[in-house]
Symmetry: C2
Subunit: 296 residues, 2 copies
Amino acid sequence: MSLLVTGSIAIDTVKTPHGVSENCIGGSAVYFSMAASFFSPVRLVGAVGSDCPFDWTKVFAGRDIDLTGLEVRENSKTFRWVGSYSENMDNRKTEYIELNVLAEEPPIVPAEFSDSKFVFLANTAPNLQLKLLNQIDRPAFVAADTMDFWIEGHPEDLKINCLIINEDEARLLANEHNLIKAAEKILDIGADVVIIKKGESGSLLCNAGGDKFVLPAYPATEVKDPTGAGDSFAGGMMGYLAENNKTDFASLKKAVAYGTVVASFAIADFSLNGLISIDKADIKDRFENLRKIISF
Amino acid sequence: MSLLVTGSIAIDTVKTPHGVSENCIGGSAVYFSMAASFFSPVRLVGAVGSDCPFDWTKVFAGRDIDLTGLEVRENSKTFRWVGSYSENMDNRKTEYIELNVLAEEPPIVPAEFSDSKFVFLANTAPNLQLKLLNQIDRPAFVAADTMDFWIEGHPEDLKINCLIINEDEARLLANEHNLIKAAEKILDIGADVVIIKKGESGSLLCNAGGDKFVLPAYPATEVKDPTGAGDSFAGGMMGYLAENNKTDFASLKKAVAYGTVVASFAIADFSLNGLISIDKADIKDRFENLRKIISF
């Protein structure tokens, strides 16, 4: 089933205890697309400036990622982010940011993408997300990792089926420390499904019907660069759902497990390298291993 | 199979955002005994002073907890602890402590307990633990939640099969932030099994053979008093192992799951109330529910 993503495309400089990656490929929509492409064709909608040094057809070579929605704006510059991680990589600091194209009008969703059924809105300004979503005719399942619309009190303007947020955001949004209660409060606001990401502590999935699923993170020993972990998680998850064209709770559980596995590969190396160096068989192996190490 | 525990017996005063429990029943050996007694007979070894206001035969009424090893010392006073929890209960502060009997000679292990096969050493001074363990002829499986012996560099003096510690202790002991790597380092020092408790993030079980098991905490919405969570975890775990007289990895996984479930009941109310108000069927139900909510 068709899967569309819109979000940032970035030139990143990332510093971790394992090294520095300068002017490397980054951005939420890029990590998402790469992660989702293991499962499903992907339609990427985003914008870069004329300064963007990456050849996207080469970056995504051999993957079914449709770049029709990728705008190169002649008089604009690409979004840039410089960040550093603390020694234990449990804290991230943005050292420098240039919004550039992200501060302009959102990209146009190509007419041939307007029938997209699965849609992921990576974090950006709420009014841009609304403008993007309005260009899609009748999406079946929209997920977002934004919460700004919700905090501003207008969740009804943005028809989101699934909210994917981290634990700090969930606590802030629900004004509740206990994550189960926070998830229930968020579901009351209006989402069908909420997924709370807890980093190395795993994730929590709840739906409006009262179903719950908790999953630890994959116990990875190789963590070189956590950048893109959340977008890779979302990519693996949405890719699996789109591949199977299902959003029942059993499918959502498997999707969260695939997202967990894909994220564990993404953080093993800088930029996209952790995802470029694997194939679907690696993902399936680790998926089965995850199932094994949590079963009792 | 016989299960012996030695550790503290306390008069606690606990302050949490849900209230204050003054001069209530506490202590590591007490929580452990109550938790383990759902699975196996328990031999409790510990000491109190003549000031201890609790009638232990009433406290443990209807449970197979042998109090032959409970010493009441006429000229001593009972261990006292006053602690408070932060608003989110993720931080605990000791406000006041009186070691009293815990600063004296350790209790004597009764001769009829010297054949105990499963032994749990709750946290106390290393030399006391050694003196206690030396009174047991040939234990089959010794677990401890202490790490002082290890940090002092004499792990070989204390024959421990299973070390149960929290994540901060594991990182400190192994000088390694990644918990998988930390567990592997601790296994290298000499334990057969290490269990790292991560509070609301669950636990990690590893053995010297390279087997791994990760389990989230039970997603509890009712948390009134986290005191005794770790000892209840250990009690449920060791109780299950003693009940089945097995310590293979499959049994250890189930034991950790039972420990997780029992701890989730313990924290739902002050002092022992969370454990007193349940029966084995409640534990089995929640055990099956835990299995369900982590399966995919």
